[in-house]
Amino acid sequence: MIAEETLLNELKQLETQAKAFEVLVNTYKERLYWHIRRIVLNHDDTDDVLQNTFIKVFKNIDGFKGDSKLYSWMYRIATNEALTFLKKNSNKLGISNSELQDKMVSNLQADVYFEGDEIQLKLQKAIATLPEKQKLVFNMKYYQEMKYEEISEILNTSVGGLKASYHLAVKKVESFLKGD
């Protein structure tokens, strides 16, 4: 894998930009896809948000100062894009965020790109009940198996706070799954 610093330099130079961008997309597309998919749930919406994320990254790469890792910066953009997408959707439909979450989960039943069984559907229902931050931490830790330090840089929250959020999230999801 190409070193982040080299890639960043190539992205900022016109003659190497196109090739470097392709490398960037190929390196991060799957990880970012699954990160976004777990927030917006539906494949087509994920595709839109993912493409917009990469376009934003490309357009703003000159403004990236390297204060954080490129990887965390891209995750942050993807998270913001996904959450903004949801916010716009709930505004457009005139419903609250939690009503939108319920709607998204019930839409999964008819989604051709969801093959989950009853328990997996229930898992999504459980995750939908979590507050935004806990939801993000739960997905990033449990399903994406990210380190607390990485999540901390992306979400700009202390490691201690993340551990507490994760603990609460797991407890809530488990008790939801245990209940009928």
Binding site: V25, Q51, I55, F114, D117, Q124, K163, S165, H167, L177
Partner: protein, 177 residues
């Protein structure tokens, strides 16, 4: 007083308490994640179209190429008229705005009570109790904040006046009157 009594009989490893919270939270997290009897499903059931990632790069490139910004040139004369129109509009708006404001005579106190309360009541801040707890620094709270701010009798009477329609609901006995 016997000096020996002040000496602690037991010792803890160096730095034991400093790292205690972290170790505890780590343990709690690993218990949840690795529990054999964990009821969390391993897979979530999401799938995606075949070959989706192969064509993603091309799709992004196409979208980027479509987004060439359009440059609309304004000639100078037209620009001048725009400025004039904008200035006139600004003056009209300001005049109307000031007059309307003068009629209402808003004060900061009114604003603070109605507008801010309204904002908090009607805006979904999206913050859970836990998240609010995360941002409020506990260190800055003093016990005196709670003990010194006792509820006055008249506040209680005001509250009851405003929120209780029927005094019978309170089930007060004569003695309590």
């Amino acid at each position: 007083m016997n000096k020996k009594k002040n000496k602690k009989d037991f010792k803890t490893p160096k730095g034991y308490f400093e790292g205690f919270t972290d170790r505890l939270l780590d343990k709690m997290s690993s218990m949840e994640g690795n529990q054999e009897e964990s009821i969390l499903p391993e897979k979530e059931g999401f799938k995606l179209p075949d070959g989706y990632f192969d064509s993603l790069n091309k799709n992004i490139q196409e979208k980027l190429n479509d987004e060439v910004p359009k440059v609309i040139a304004l000639n100078r004369r037209r620009k001048f008229y725009y400025y004039v129109a904008a200035a006139v509009a600004a003056i009209v708006l300001l005049t109307v705005g000031i007059q309307t404001n003068m009629n209402q005579e808003p004060t900061f106190e009114n604003l603070a009570k109605t507008e801010i309360e309204d904002y908090f009541n009607n805006t979904d801040l999206g913050l859970s109790t836990y998240e609010i707890a995360e941002v409020i620094p506990v260190d800055e709270l003093e016990i005196s904040d709670i003990t010194d701010n006792q509820i006055e009798d008249e506040n209680i009477i005001d509250y009851l006046d405003n929120s209780i329609d029927n005094i019978e609901e309170l089930n007060l006995t004569d003695y309590e009157y």
